[in-house]
Amino acid sequence: MSRINIELPGLDLKNPIMPASGCFGFGREYAQLYDLSKLGAIMIKATTLETRRGNPTPRVAETSAGMLNAIGLQNPGIEKVMGEELKFLEGYDVPIIANVAGTEVADYVEVAERISKAPNVKALELNISCPNVKCGGIQFGTDPQTAKELTQAVKAVSSVPVYVKLSPNVTSIVDIAKAVEEGGADGITMINTLVGMRLDERTGKPVIANGTGGLSGPAVKPVAIRMVYEVYKAVNIPIIGMGGVTCAQDVIDFMSAGASAVAVGTANFVDHFVCPTIIDELPAKLDALGVEHISEIIGRSHR
């Protein structure tokens, strides 16, 4: 019997490890490196109604133990994502969590309704937290009432459970978490990136063409852990935690704070095999903790 499987709304996970949205494309590239069926799930790149071109380059900048990105939700649009990318992923035994983005309620709703009907999409991840686009995304994620209404609207049309991805760029993440729970969210994914800026040493101007970018990587882990810890206490829906995960111990930390599963983002750029490596390391971690099944550690910080 598996010691690391996890059951969540819509998701029957072989293990709690999944690549985070935007850090794994639609899986094709990493499929050259290892068998995607090994993963607990895959969070695909944000999908919008129309093709998005994204921001000018440079779109990334390295920072201390982290990076900034301002990709700008570049994606080929729902038509191509469903027709080509999700079809490709059907070749693997892995549930897909579709990251849905938009500029107004109507296009969130349309993308959610359509993409939730794809056979391998087992859950939606409502992206109300992208800091890198001028309109759409983050303004839905910073006001509790707006977040709740969008969640309700998407819940009403989705054929699969809806997880809402929270932004850390708010005064009280707990208020947003409670609001989306009231709006009917089946789960929460957190955190998206923290808005930041890096300056060029010579010119004194921002390195990233967009000016600001979203900070990710090991540098953000303490912030993410704190937020998961707080939200776990405040809501009764499951949390998929992320932010700076690079190893099995980080996974244990997130689950201890209250996450039921864990996503890995930036670390996929540094060690392209990080997800399968972590999965293989988990049983030994459980042995060291004297735990039989990984679900026993969820929320242990609070006990």
Binding site: G22, G25, E29, Y30, A65, F269, V270, D271
Partner: protein, 257 residues
């Protein structure tokens, strides 16, 4: 096939001011073609975090070795320069699509134009072109003489001309100054270097077939993160290309300059 491999340092030599030649040994050498690159993890801590893209400069498949030539400038490449013989370096590669050696027919002449740290990938390209019976002319641009490298290697393969910004070696000026002086006769060109150089080259020889290698800041290096996209010209069927996985080499006229 792309591999992530712990490669062994065979040698690390400083060959010009701040310019290092690093020779590594490992299996992934077997799949390398000129113009491809590797994504190098320079430290096993989070500092610096991201891999560094570096071109493949020389390939020796019999010995399972390849060399890269890089400028130790920022913190990542400076870290890389501290590696010594016998140490291990984590390398992902080979990545991207290199220069099409087959585009040049035996008996033809190819013009190879390099600028600064864009020069290294032209070394393996020139070797392979010459092995195919293609004549090569090299026009290499550098900031100044002290950062020039591989003079002997290029000279052994074909006529080699230099341009330096301060005039300390070869013609004073840019590679285009050499074109004016020498008026090279050739059938097609290959180039790697800074954007202004690539732009000038496209404008200089609008009627010639040519292949250009681009640089862009990278995250994943394999096509997944959309960090390295470039806009394309109207002639191309796609709106954008990714330097890491669609490139870094593109036929001229694809990337909007």
């Amino acid at each position: 096939m792309i591999r992530q491999e712990k490669m062994t340092v065979v040698a690390q030599v400083q060959i010009a001011t701040n310019i290092f030649e690093l020779t590594l040994q490992g299996q992934l050498v077997q799949d390398m073609t000129p113009g491809q690159f590797v994504h190098v993890k320079v430290s096993d801590t989070f500092e610096p975090l991201l891999r560094r893209p570096i071109s493949i400069a020389n390939v020796d498949k019999e010995k399972n070795e390849f060399t890269m030539i890089y400028r130790a400038e920022g913190r990542g490449t400076q870290f890389l320069a501290t590696n010594r013989e016998g140490q291990i370096v984590d390398v992902l590669g080979p990545l991207g699509n290199g220069f099409p050696v087959d585009a040049a027919q035996p008996g033809q002449t190819a013009l190879l134009v390099g600028g600064g740290i864009g020069v290294p990938p032209l070394q393996e390209l020139s070797k392979q072109l010459n092995a195919r019976g293609v004549k090569t002319i090299h026009v290499l641009g550098f900031q100044s003489e002290d950062v020039c490298f591989y003079e002997e290697q290029f000279s052994a393969l074909g006529d080699t001309y230099y341009a330096t910004v301060d005039g300390s070696k070869g013609t004073k000026g840019f590679v285009t100054t050499v074109f004016d002086d020498v008026k090279p006769q050739f059938d097609l060109f290959y180039s790697c270097g800074p954007m202004p150089m690539l732009r000038a080259l496209e404008q200089y020889y609008p009627e010639k077939e040519g292949y250009l290698s681009f640089e862009e800041r990278m995250g994943c290096g394999i096509g997944a993160c959309f960090a390295c996209v470039c806009d394309t010209t109207d002639k191309h069927e796609k709106d954008y290309v990714k330097v890491c996985s669609d490139g870094p080499v593109f036929p001229k006229g694809v990337v909007a300059l």
